[in-house]
């Protein structure tokens, strides 16, 4: 493992310090917590707070999306480990303006439980808290008897829409209702060329041969649904769009937002080649995205690969929220 770090045990606090010191115009550290909030506190006055977070290693998510028009605060757990309730609670408390706080949680046992406990703590303090659990990763079978699906890159769209609404003065209940409406419209699926190496364990999550890829991996190097020989970009696009279409039935009369997300070590060149093939494939369905982003947004340390998110814009207002300007490090 070759990494530009000091002590593996300190990567998160050092990274958080590096972020707030490099971008003091956008974010500031929350005292006694590995968490950041907007530097421009006035932008939050009288508004509902939007708080997100989870394990670290997905940069620029989450701290890179804190700023005017998007998140109010982000909590940074240990690498690939959900943050503890006291940290989440500190973020809730720091941004609450009396209008309540909305939590965006990704569907992992740890995140769900830790955010729930933080909510209990906020309740005791009479801070109104509501939340949504994002579960956009269609690689996993859906079932009410199991943990269900993971929350991955599609969370970016949830952050953007709720952040814009909060900025525009929406109430906690309005945000809660919108989140519930947005959720089933976001679907994501990924393909990996290599796994991430966690600085603490020093080992990759799985090992692929020099000519192997794996479909359906998660953002913590959870294994996927199929391993096979590397294929041309076109064929990867076919596989991923096929899976998404099975779920959401692409329809030319509907509007879609698309996120082509690099997992960390995959060059933009490859992401744009993938995007070119993707737009060809979508054209076969007579679909042209109304909104599109390509780049490293929800990474998995040094994993190589791409995830593809398609978000059906079921409400015309959402497109406006996606396009609303923000002041963040990374949007």
């Amino acid at each position: 493992m070759k990494k530009i770090i000091n002590d593996p045990a300190n990567v998160v606090p050092e990274m958080v310090k590096g972020m707030v010191r490099s971008y003091p115009q956008f974010i500031t550290k929350i005292e006694d917590a590995e968490a950041v909030m907007r530097a421009d506190k006035d932008s939050m006055t009288g508004k509902v707070g939007i708080v997100s977070g989870g394990g670290s290693g997905h940069e620029p998510t989450h701290a890179g999306f804190v700023g005017n028009g998007m998140l109010s605060a982000a909590v940074c757990g240990e690498v690939f480990t959900s943050p503890t309730p006291d940290q989440i609670y500190a973020a809730i408390k720091a941004v609450d303006q009396g209008q309540g706080v909305f939590l965006v949680i990704k569907n992992y046992s740890g995140d769900v439980m830790n955010f729930d406990m933080a909510k209990d703590m906020a309740d005791m303090d009479n801070i109104k808290v509501k939340s949504i659990v994002v579960d956009d990763d269609i690689a996993v079978e859906n079932s009410t008897f199991t943990q269900g699906r993971r929350g991955v890159a599609g969370t970016l769209f949830m952050h953007k829409i709720l952040g814009a609404m909060a900025q525009n003065g929406a109430s906690l209940d309005e945000i809660d209702a919108a989140a519930k409406k947005v959720l089933p419209n976001i679907k994501t699926i990924a393909v990996a060329l290599s796994a991430a190496t966690n600085p603490e364990t020093g080992k990759p999550g799985f090992v692929l041969k020099d000519d192997e890829i794996e479909y359906g991996v998660g953002i913590h190097s959870e294994p996927g649904y199929r391993r096979e020989k590397i294929k041309p970009a076109k064929d990867l696009v076919s596989e991923l769009v096929g899976k998404l279409n099975d779920e959401m039935h692409l329809d030319h009369s509907k509007k879609y937002a698309v996120l082509v997300n690099g997992m960390g070590a995959t060059p933009l060149m490859e992401q744009f080649i993938f995007s070119n093939d993707l737009l060809d494939k979508l054209a076969e369905f007579d679909v042209k995205p109304a909104f599109m982003k390509v780049g490293n947004y929800m990474t998995s340390l040094d994993m190589a690969g791409i995830s593809l998110t398609i978000f059906e814009i079921a409400d015309e207002k959402w497109l406006g929220y996606l396009n609303q300007p923000v002041e963040t490090i990374a949007w």
Partner: protein
């Protein structure tokens, strides 16, 4: 016979030592069907607990509370809130009872409520739900602990990170069940509690 501040602290320090010793093994189990951090998570938490308990609290309730708060604020992940909740429930129950069986039963109820897992979901609930009745019946043995942990091997995970693997989670011991096994082993080895 009975729970005291001293033997409670002995139990927990013994648990802490077992975690430290098996940190890598626990993480290896977690690499197979999770994200490889369970040993590191538990080690970070239990080191902090032992450190905290070096200043001895006054009452059994205070000890449980101290453990709970420390685990909740240092472990993170799935195991942090689960172990944290377990000790928090024991703290609450200890106000009215000092029976270890009753305390552990309250802990198990808390774990199930917090995580929503039931027996045979391949989580720590499997080990707890088999062993708590044994404690209550004064029948806890090393064999029973080992077999409760080993029994998680053939299950398909329904909760936690391993559940994403579906059928492929079979054939591996659940890491949280293994660490829970160490907790019961440590209990068994501590004089005077059971």
């Amino acid at each position: 016979m009975g729970l005291t501040v001293n033997n409670l602290i002995d139990w927990i320090n013994n648990f802490s030592a077992k975690i430290e010793q098996n940190k890598q093994y626990l993480s290896d189990l977690d690499t197979a069907i999770g994200d490889g951090d369970h040993g590191f998570n538990m080690s970070r938490g239990m080191k902090a607990v032992s450190q905290k308990l070096s200043t001895k609290p006054e009452t059994i309730t205070d000890v449980f509370k101290q453990i709970a708060m420390t685990l909740i604020s240092t472990v993170g992940g799935a195991s942090g809130p689960l172990y944290g909740t377990a000790f928090l429930e024991m703290a609450k129950k200890s106000a009215t009872s000092d029976d270890i069986g009753e305390l552990l039963e309250a802990a198990l109820t808390g774990i199930k409520k917090r995580g929503g897992a039931e027996p045979r979901d391949k989580t720590m609930v499997d080990v707890w739900s088999v062993l708590v009745p044994e404690v209550k019946a004064h029948n806890l043995t090393r064999e029973k602990i080992d077999s409760a942990v080993a029994a998680t091997k053939d299950l398909v995970a329904k909760k936690g990170r391993a559940s994403y693997l579906g059928e492929r989670s079979k054939g591996h011991i659940d890491p949280g069940s293994q660490s829970s096994g160490y907790l019961f082993e440590a209990l068994l080895e501590t004089e005077g509690i059971l």
